[in-house]
């Protein structure tokens, strides 16, 4: 998917252009830094001849550390049945010590010019495959080899993350994929751009980039194979393009583009203290989503009226124990106080699916996105849920905190969760703890069944918030992480618009407000339609607040209502996108759409 362009004579490396999906706006220029994800799989990465010795040294050091660790661990467990175990440890130790095998891996690094972890993985896999074919107890040895491989590669990966956190300058992180659990271990100040092979607009890499306010391009398919560590790259998050080893003219052109973009962003600054009000005086609440707690000041700096979605997963991921009530109370109080008098809507734990914490044992599932996650875990492990609810109810005495329940698929579940919340209040009362008994509770509408039952749900709660990332994925049956079918994931699908309209109308018929907190809330092509469908609140990444506010402030609600009626009659996403793009281009000439 890339064009290798011939360059001027003085350029040794050819300039390359890779096309991906624009995931976070802006332009970043800098050096590439490779990072592996948390799955134990090494990615192939081309290295320079000069990098060979350091790759070999790195592997040697890691093999030695892993071997030492094995010996120490086996010394600690000195129990009787350890005899068999000892033999296994002995074999592992000998493999890590096998200088002939080490020599083969080194030859792979040198001859194929690939990274150490990949070379190690490929050689081990080759051996394991041969043993597996032999069958019987020889295939057990293959399993042992995979075990050793995982240990070594995990360590080599962890090594990279540490290196990033110690880097002198901010770099552009290049990865096959970037999961939340890996992202949480990174120092955000060392990242100035992100480029990944996998993912679409709503992938975790995209959310992370927007949260960190760094440009990102995802869904590049083959970037990790195409470039080397420390290559100069440009990430154009406005157009979804990555340029590798740009020539002088291109670099200059992009510097100018970047300055122009920064100036345009700055021009939006004056909107910060103005309300999200249409020309004909319909007020919307424009809030921000929060992925990491240290963004609170960004929310205010961008002129958002509160936090429409606080994702609490960061409290559960990247650690081996659960956060207790007190820790959560401190955290939620801090945020509620900082954002007061605006509200913070706290979504209860939404782990499982593609985010698995170490502290809750989630067995492997064939369909994790349809599996044991979010409220399904909370209801089965009420002690986790109650600790979180207690913390929110208590934090609400310090500011304006609300509860949002994720992944509700039916009324039984909702009633059960509401009963648990009431039970929690009784417990707090008994303990004599100060808390806010009238804390508002809302439901995230992200499963089609909940969308269809929106009226029955609205009768029981204070507000609804449409989570479009999952709703669109479930409604259209499109895995948003699968880049092969990512083009089928479409916010502006006519079925999606109809469902959203129904949810908003159902909420209003029961007298509750309806918001939206998925990426669609920040989709420039959708904003006017959502205003026209009478959405009450939009919650977007802090970085998107100014531009969405600009669109709202230049829109007439009456006109938007007519536009929405017209668009709801279209039968294909293509028509809708084409129509809205024309409309927006006419109305907002300098906006990137």
């Amino acid at each position: 998917m890339f064009d290798a362009m011939p360059k001027q004579k003085q350029e040794l490396k050819a300039q390359m252009i890779l096309q991906g999906v624009a995931a976070s706006p802006g332009i970043a220029m800098g050096s590439a830094f490779f990072l592996a994800d948390d799955r134990v799989k090494a990615e192939r990465r081309a290295i320079a001849v000069a990098e060979v010795p350091q790759e070999i040294e790195k592997l040697k050091a890691v093999l030695e550390i892993t071997r030492q660790e094995l010996i120490e661990n086996s010394a600690q467990s000195g129990s009787e049945p350890a005899k068999d175990q000892d033999r296994i440890v002995e074999v592992h130790r000998m493999v890590l010590d096998d200088e002939y095998f080490f020599g083969e891996v080194n030859a792979t690094i040198r001859d194929e010019l690939v990274n150490a972890d990949y070379a190690f993985q490929e050689r081990i896999n080759q051996y394991a495959e041969q043993l597996r074919k032999r069958g019987g107890h020889f295939s057990e040895i293959a399993e042992e080899l995979h075990d050793i491989k995982n240990k070594v590669i995990r360590r080599l990966n962890g090594d990279r993350r540490q290196l990033l956190n110690q880097a002198e300058d901010a770099v552009i992180v290049v990865s096959h994929d970037l999961t939340t659990s890996v992202a949480l271990t990174l120092n955000r100040h060392k990242i100035k751009g992100i480029a990944t092979d996998l993912g679409g607009k709503t992938s975790h890499a995209a959310l992370l980039a927007r949260a960190y306010r760094v440009p990102a391009v995802v869904g590049l398919r083959e970037i990790i194979g195409a470039i080397k560590n420390d290559d100069r790259i440009i990430v154009d998050g406005n157009n979804g393009v990555v340029l590798v080893n740009p020539d002088k003219a291109t670099s200059a052109q992009y510097r100018a583009k970047r300055n122009k973009w920064l100036a345009a962003v700055k021009k939006l600054d004056h909107l910060r203290d103005l309300p999200a009000r249409t020309i004909d005086n319909r007020d919307l609440t424009l809030a921000a989503n929060l992925e990491y707690a240290d963004e609170v000041k960004d929310v205010l700096a961008h002129g958002a009226a509160g936090i429409g979605l606080l994702r609490t997963e960061y409290l559960y991921l990247g650690r081996d124990c659960l956060p207790d009530e007190e820790e959560q109370f401190q955290e939620y109080s801090r945020i509620a106080k900082a954002i007061k008098p605006h509200p913070v809507i706290i979504r209860t734990m939404d782990v499982g699916g593609d985010k698995s914490p170490q502290c809750i044992d989630i067995p492997p599932e064939a369909n994790p996105m349809l599996g044991w996650r979010a409220i399904r875990i909370s209801l089965e492990r009420p002690e986790i849920f109650i600790a979180q609810i207690k913390a929110i109810l208590r934090a609400n005495t310090r500011g304006n905190a609300r509860i949002l329940l994720p992944m509700i698929s039916g009324i039984e579940q909702l009633d059960e969760a509401l009963a648990l919340i009431e039970k929690t209040k009784r417990q707090l009362r008994k303990q004599g703890q100060a808390f806010e008994p009238d804390t508002e509770v809302g439901v995230m509408i992200e499963i089609p069944s909940a969308a269809l039952l929106a009226d029955a749900i609205a009768e029981r709660v204070d507000f609804l918030s449409i989570g479009t990332n999952d709703l669109v994925q479930y409604l259209l049956a499109v895995d948003r992480g699968n880049e092969r079918i990512a083009h089928l994931f479409e916010n502006l699908h006519p079925a999606v618009l109809r469902v959203i309209k129904n949810v908003i109308d159902a909420g209003h018929s029961k007298g509750v407000w309806v918001g939206m907190c998925g990426e669609m809330a920040a989709d420039r092509l959708a904003t006017v339609l959502l205003v026209g469908m009478k959405i009450d609140e939009l919650s977007v990444s802090p970085i998107d607040v100014p531009e969405i506010k600009k669109i709202i402030r230049h829109t007439s609600f009456k006109e938007a209502e007519k536009l929405a009626q017209q668009v709801l009659n279209f039968s294909t996403a293509k028509e809708i996108i084409h129509f809205m793009r024309q409309y927006m281009r006419r109305r907002f000439k300098d906006m990137v759409l």
Partner: protein, 88 residues
């Protein structure tokens, strides 16, 4: 160089444990030690190599030693196979 043909005699064949014993023993000699199965030759001092032979019971192997202490080395290897690596 000296060499000898023999067959694996322990039930489990050259799985992880006997392989580690063999490599540990081989490593005590100065001579190069190689093991051949059909047309695959591996280094007797490499556990990965020896395990890779996946030699089950009755598999025919050729052990060779080459160096200052080749006689002793070969004798020690043969002894290991004959003692069934202390198994069974």
């Amino acid at each position: 160089m000296v060499e000898k043909k023999l067959a694996v005699r322990n039930k489990m064949g050259l799985h992880a444990r006997p392989s580690s014993k063999l490599v540990q023993k081989a490593s005590t000699f100065k001579s190069d030690i190689h093991i051949k199965r059909d047309d695959q030759i591996v280094n007797g001092k490499s556990i990965m190599g020896v395990m890779m032979l996946a030699a089950a019971m009755e598999t025919e192997l050729t052990i060779s030693a080459n160096g200052a202490d080749e006689e002793q080395a070969l004798a020690a290897m043969v002894e290991l196979f004959e003692s069934k690596f202390g198994e069974d």
